[in-house]
């Protein structure tokens, strides 16, 4: 090609061209891949795919920035050769992205109005390549049969693909057998899974992939390639993959990182938006994670470990705690559905929790007579107190005791239905001793505070509790402003000190509002005043929803007054929201 000197651009800055070395590298690669077809070549191709995609992307940008094909061919003389090689590489053409980039580059070389022979030739070449790619048949016999039997090419290729997939599925479906009495047949499964890496997002391969994932792990040989699992995980998170339920569960079972990603994405979706308890439960159930946990103990253990580590960093985070509780509830429900088939004891799912507390905490309040709640909670409270005392008595640096207390607390978070019952009983207990319940509440909100702090927290809790009780006793009307103010100060954050567990206070507040003796309107009035003062509207709404849900769900309370009060409170809150 004769060099044409650009006429009048002495000052024109040339954009940094793609590194010539890079182009040469990829050209050499493309040629090498085109010549051999061994398993090694295939592996090499797969390894380089994402880098190749990036390179093609760069190329495309470059090509599109050129003013004409002539310019492109001058600046990137090996482009045509590279594209020509890559077009016939199935690993490049199988993936939507790389195929799109490849075609984009080809179109970049196409001239709508070719101005010289070179451009005309380029156009012809591009048309020829595209025509061959989609209509040329390598196989003489295939072509003859298509013509004679009247089966169109598209149908034929689909049939052959489906047949191949079916044959491979038969292969995968075979149980582990000693093949050639040397290696067991599971080796072939690894090969198949690796071959599927470039095609994870292709719908034609999805049944094969599902089968690979769900194949029972029979022997020691690693069944699925790590790269395959990673490819699946990233495709799934990009939402480029549609997996049926059981296949997804199997993916989580095989790949820790995919499970972790699923849990974190669930967390993200429920923490950022304020969801009603019903919606939260729905979202958790829809994530399929509780179901997966019920089917595989190991999945449940991993999920809980993730929850643990998050809670260790943010024990005050109410939304995370609520999620853990809801998750455990959904999990137990799924487990009960599976129960007849499995014979795994519940202990296997909670290996680190103190065994004496396990069954008492897991039992739902609805599973025991209401009259027994008080004793049950008393026992729970004293057991937990003993645990914390043991920890504190021992060496301050002992990790064993600390660990026990944390695990007990974590179990309590998972079974926070008892905490909610404790609030309810505290509020309705009248003259009976509510101290154990208050202790339990403090423990739930402040698990790591040492005993002297806990004592002071207890005192402040009692103070708040007193304020609230007085406000709702109906004895004072209009509401004593000093009480209101003190409560407000106690709850809202001060610059010097941390606010006192707003969630605890709101819990008490709402429960008192629901179970007190005031008429619905009166109760709503007081609540409004307190919420106005302390600014805890959203939290109040949330607690009220959960309370209603719990009461409706399995509990025996059907007192009309309670429900009337709930309705009135909800109305007030909605009104306040719209203001």
């Amino acid at each position: 090609m004769s060099e044409q000197q650009p006429l009048s651009q002495p000052l024109q800055t040339e954009e940094p061209l793609l590194n010539d070395q890079e182009m040469q590298f990829w050209l050499d690669k493309a040629v090498a891949w085109g010549q051999a077809d061994s398993p090694d070549t295939q592996k090499d191709t797969c390894l380089h795919m994402s880098r190749l995609r990036d390179f093609l992307h760069q190329l495309l940008t470059q090509v599109n920035s050129m003013s004409s094909t002539t310019e492109t061919m001058k600046r990137l003389p090996f482009l045509g050769q590279l594209l020509g090689q890559l077009c016939w590489n199935p690993y490049v053409t199988v993936c939507d992205t790389s195929r799109g980039l490849l075609l984009g580059c080809l179109w970049g070389l196409y001239s709508e109005r070719p101005s010289n022979a070179v451009e005309k030739k380029a156009n012809q070449w591009i048309r020829k390549v595209l025509c061959q790619l989609s209509t040329e048949e390598d196989e003489t016999a295939a072509q003859a049969l298509m013509k004679c039997t009247g089966v169109p090419a598209k149908e034929y290729h689909l049939k052959v693909l489906r047949k191949k997939v079916a044959l491979l599925q038969e292969n995968v479906g075979q149980s582990c057998t000693l093949f050639n009495s040397q290696r067991c047949s599971c080796d072939r499964i690894v090969d198949i899974s690796e071959a599927c890496i470039p095609i994870v997002t292709c719908p034609e391969a999805s049944s094969l992939i599902s089968l690979l994932l769900q194949r029972p792990v029979a022997c020691v040989t690693e069944g699925l390639s790590e790269d395959f699992l990673n490819a699946l995980t990233s495709a799934y998170s990009r939402q480029g993959l549609a997996l049926e339920e059981q296949a997804l569960v199997s993916l989580w079972y095989h790949s820790f990182s995919s499970l972790e990603e699923a849990v974190l994405s669930l967390l993200q979706s429920v923490i950022t938006t304020g969801l009603t308890p019903q919606k939260l439960e729905q979202q958790v159930a829809q994530s399929l994670l509780p179901k997966a946990c019920a089917q595989h103990c190991s999945i449940f253990l991993v999920v809980n470990d993730i929850f643990r580590s998050i809670l260790k960093q943010a024990e005050g985070n109410e939304s995370v705690k609520t999620l853990v509780q809801t998750f455990t509830k959904c999990f137990l429900r799924e487990l009960a559905l599976l129960k007849p088939q499995t014979s795994i004891s519940v202990k296997a799912f909670f290996p680190q929790s103190p065994s004496s507390l396990l069954v008492p905490l897991l039992t739902m309040p609805s599973e025991m007579p209401q009259g027994a709640w008080r004793n049950h909670l008393n026992w729970l409270s004293s057991s937990l107190q003993r645990l914390t005392e043991e920890e504190e008595e021992g060496d301050g640096r002992s990790t064993r005791g600390h660990h026990n207390v944390f695990e007990a607390w974590f179990l309590l978070v998972q079974c926070a239905h008892w905490v909610q019952v404790a609030v309810q009983l505290l509020v309705t207990s009248g003259t009976e001793d509510g101290d154990p319940f208050l202790w339990l509440l403090i423990f739930y909100h402040y698990p790591t505070k040492r005993w002297h702090h806990r004592a002071s927290q207890l005192a402040r809790a009692k103070e708040a509790w007193n304020h609230i009780r007085t406000l709702f006793s109906g004895a004072a009307h209009p509401l004593p402003s000093d009480r209101l103010q003190s409560l407000g100060t106690l709850v809202s954050p001060q610059p010097e000190q941390q606010s006192f567990a707003p969630s605890l206070t709101v819990s008490l507040l709402v429960n008192v509002a629901v179970f007190c003796q005031l008429p619905p309107s009166g109760s709503a009035e007081v609540l409004q005043a307190v919420v106005d003062q302390s600014g805890l509207l959203d939290e109040a709404a949330c607690v009220l929803s959960s309370l209603e849900l719990r009461l409706n769900e399995g509990c025996c309370l059907s007192r009309d007054t309670v429900h009337l009060r709930i309705k009135e409170l909800q109305k007030t809150i909605t009104q306040m929201h719209s203001e």
Partner: protein
């Protein structure tokens, strides 16, 4: 029927335009979709009427007329026959892509890589991404094809065999028109010139398609009879088949078992002992096997049919006796064969 014939004629004319005319330069997405729509229509017409001999004849006549007119007006015109109709969309695509006047905008639509959504564009089904999908499908297969699977013949041969059987059954179903079936097999064989090996695999696959109904049995029989008439083809096939494959085929089809047995005996009779190699070899030209393979094939046949063993043993013995009944290697192929077969 008149309307149908008119539509057929128009579509064939449209195909001619697609192939060679620069009128396609003015086509837009709508026109393209409409073109494929009519091609699809022809495919439906074929599937509806190809079994009806009378209607088929009328349609063939119409096509003849249209072809004649087009041949007279367009130089280098490629005819469209009735049997081409089921592949009408494919024909359209090939013609369009080979036409340099096809606007690049339309090509871009056909090769669009975003997942084609089957929406209706106006009244016609969207053709966006049609070619992209074909390329992807082919690529997925190429990615998977190196993997070993359960099939002795390969996915492609199996599918081709099924296609063969389906068409054969359909042709034989149409009554006493066995000549059409013969023509069909003949044209496939002709089309596979240069790929005879694959053709043999296809026949093997066709014969191994499971017998689910009487129609299939009749088709198998027809195919076997046809194969037996083509001696050299049968011989070639036997030389290609693995013992396992031969065994499977022989199990299903007695005719083939007997025919291949004859081929094997013929080969044995043509073998000569080579002193330099120390074994029997076939000196004749044409497809053949080594002595070792010959014994393996015999054993495969016996595996498939134990009763055959006894018959062949008797035969070979008689032949050995006629050769002098010596027990020395290298003197009688029959004697050596007998001992190789452990008889």
């Amino acid at each position: 029927m008149e309307a149908v014939l008119k539509n057929l004629a128009s579509t064939v004319e449209m195909l001619a335009v697609a192939a060679q005319s620069d009128a396609v330069n003015h086509w837009d997405k709508q026109t393209l979709s409409r073109a494929f729509h009519w091609a699809r229509y022809c495919e439906h017409v074929f599937s509806r009427f190809h079994n009806n001999a009378a209607i088929r004849r009328i349609m063939e006549k119409q096509l003849q007329l249209t072809n004649q007119t087009l041949r007279d007006t367009i130089p280098g015109y490629t005819e469209v026959s009735f049997s081409d109709l089921p592949r009408c969309q494919h024909l359209l695509l090939v013609r369009l892509l080979n036409n340099p006047e096809l606007p690049s905008s339309l090509m871009k639509i056909l090769f669009d890589t975003t997942r084609p959504v089957k929406t209706m564009h106006g009244d016609y089904e969207d053709v966006t991404g049609l070619c992209s999908h074909i390329v992807q499908c082919k690529s997925v297969y190429k990615v998977l094809s190196p993997l070993a699977d359960m099939s002795a013949l390969g996915a492609d041969a199996e599918v081709q065999g099924e296609m063969l059987m389906e068409r054969l059954e359909a042709l034989l179903n149409q009554g006493s028109e066995t000549c059409r079936a013969e023509q069909f097999l003949g044209s496939v064989l002709q089309g596979c010139e240069g790929a005879l090996q694959q053709f043999c695999l296809v026949i093997a696959a066709a014969l191994l398609t499971s017998k689910s109904c009487t129609a299939q049995t009749a088709a198998h029989d027809f195919l076997l009879d046809w194969l037996q008439k083509k001696h050299s083809l049968l011989q070639y096939m036997c030389s290609l088949l693995s013992p396992t494959l031969l065994k499977d085929l022989a199990k299903e089809h007695q005719k083939l078992r007997d025919a291949s047995c004859n081929v094997l005996k013929k080969w044995a009779s043509e073998m000569e002992y080579s002193l330099s190699d120390g074994e029997w070899v076939l000196t004749s030209t044409g497809p053949g096997v080594s002595f070792k393979k010959l014994t393996e094939l015999f054993l495969a046949l016996f595996d498939a049919s134990p009763s055959l063993r006894g018959d062949v043993e008797k035969e070979l013995n008689a032949l050995k006796i006629s050769d002098g009944d010596f027990d020395v290697t290298g003197l009688s192929v029959w004697g050596d064969l007998l001992s190789a077969l452990n008889m």
